[in-house]
Symmetry: C2
Subunit: 226 residues, 2 copies
DNA sequence: CGACGGGTTGAGCCAGCTCAATGGGCGTGG
DNA sequence: CCACGCCCATTGAGCTGGCTCAACCCGTCG
């Protein structure tokens, strides 16, 4: 990973934060942003709109995740980036990125690694969304959320922020909000999750992981705390 | 993209081909292959096995696609690579790759681009597998197949090889082979596809694309023939 | 205090599933 | 040359998870 000097280099070229309200887009599909964006606060998503108007969320962006690193080589966004909660992004000018990458290969490698983990998560979503029952899907999603938030210091002690509407959850899993409601009810009844406002508690992680067929290997987290 | 000199450099470090029979694995989940593999003939897939034994295919590998470029940074395979038909792979020694990448940045860029397209396709699969009806799913898959095969010179004139069993198709789409059967029947009845042995014909591409909500933008193909 | 954006609950429907049986193509061995 | 076995495609019949439609409730905000 990066050392402190690398982090300092990055900090210098980051511009002022951009705030985006829930439901608004940071970047719409088809656009070719010149600069690179990443999320620093809140939660956003990659999504596509279907012909009948439904929104398909294909990835969740949590603090630290890049939004559009791939645009330099792919040329245009094949999906939109939208805010799910109040969130803030930072921008790095493309020219500066190019220069940094040429000079400090460790940073480029860290970026490529982030892209590869993003792809690995997307593969797991294909499985989640395509094969598992709604109960497994939700359980799996909550496990993923806990691990990912924990890895950036936003979750501990079996608690984590879960500020998504049932509608947003449905759009992540390909089910209706009505069905999210009933399914969360079942998870609650089984004691697998406890809702406390916009926080979620996982009393017994092992049980939830089993219920959701969750194995964190695909997240490729660096061995850390936990 | 690469110039002829780059291509020549690549050719030199490629080792003898590896043949794999349908149903066999080139690389099993959890392994850490030292060398890089790519497919030169036939069709393979990335897949994961679910606890109940079902196989979830999360990506299709066609001639020219890399299998495990990501292992250097991610450390281990989070899925298996299996052959769907008789196919052959080539191997490039890891050490040679590292050297080439350092010396010829254009090659590294082409590899990263391939990874990014792979990721873009996976995102579209999340949509396909999670949201669309079985009829749309199949139509979409056939459109993708046609474009991808065409881009490597393996499909023209509305015809392309489609050697997959209904079981394999079901594992790509998350539906049962019985349902694949009935759905293909419906596509046939509507005249959207014509089966000729292991070839598929698409009489009217526009109609199939509409039926499958297919837009090739996500494939990020270089403007070429077609 | 009215409107609005969520969450909650009920009732009926249907796409895709399961289970089950049949048929056809092809390689293998007698 | 035929018989057998195997794998895959095909077809029927009944079941069910998740959907749609439709209320109603509650907290928040102008």
């Amino acid at each position: 990973m990066l050392d402190d000097a690398d982090r300092e280099r990055l900090r210098k070229i980051v511009s002022h934060p951009i705030a985006v309200e829930p439901g608004r887009d940071l970047i719409p599909e088809g656009k070719t942003p010149r600069d690179i964006h990443f999320i620093t606060e809140g939660a956003a998503c990659r999504y596509k709109i279907l012909p009948d108007g439904r929104r398909a969320i294909v990835a969740l962006l949590l603090p630290g995740d890049f939004c559009d690193l791939h645009v330099d080589l792919l040329g245009h966004m094949d999906h939109s980036i939208g805010a799910l909660t109040d969130c803030t992004f930072s921008r790095v000018a493309a020219a500066e990125v190019d220069e940094i990458l040429l000079t400090y290969p460790a940073i480029g490698q860290a970026c490529r690694r982030a892209e590869l983990v993003d792809a690995a998560i997307t593969r797991e979503w294909v499985v989640n969304v395509g094969r598992r029952s709604s109960e497994q899907q939700l359980a799996h999603l909550f496990c993923e959320l806990y691990f990912r938030l924990n890895s950036v210091g936003l979750a501990q002690d079996h608690h984590f922020p879960m500020p998504f509407t049932q509608n947003a959850l449905g759009d992540m899993l390909g089910i209706t909000s009505v069905h999210v409601q009933r399914t969360m009810g079942r998870l609650r009844d089984k004691g697998l999750i406890v809702q406390q406002g916009r926080q979620l508690q996982i009393p017994d992680f092992e049980r939830l992981a089993t219920a959701g067929d969750f194995d964190p290997a695909y997240l490729h987290l660096h061995p850390r705390h936990l």
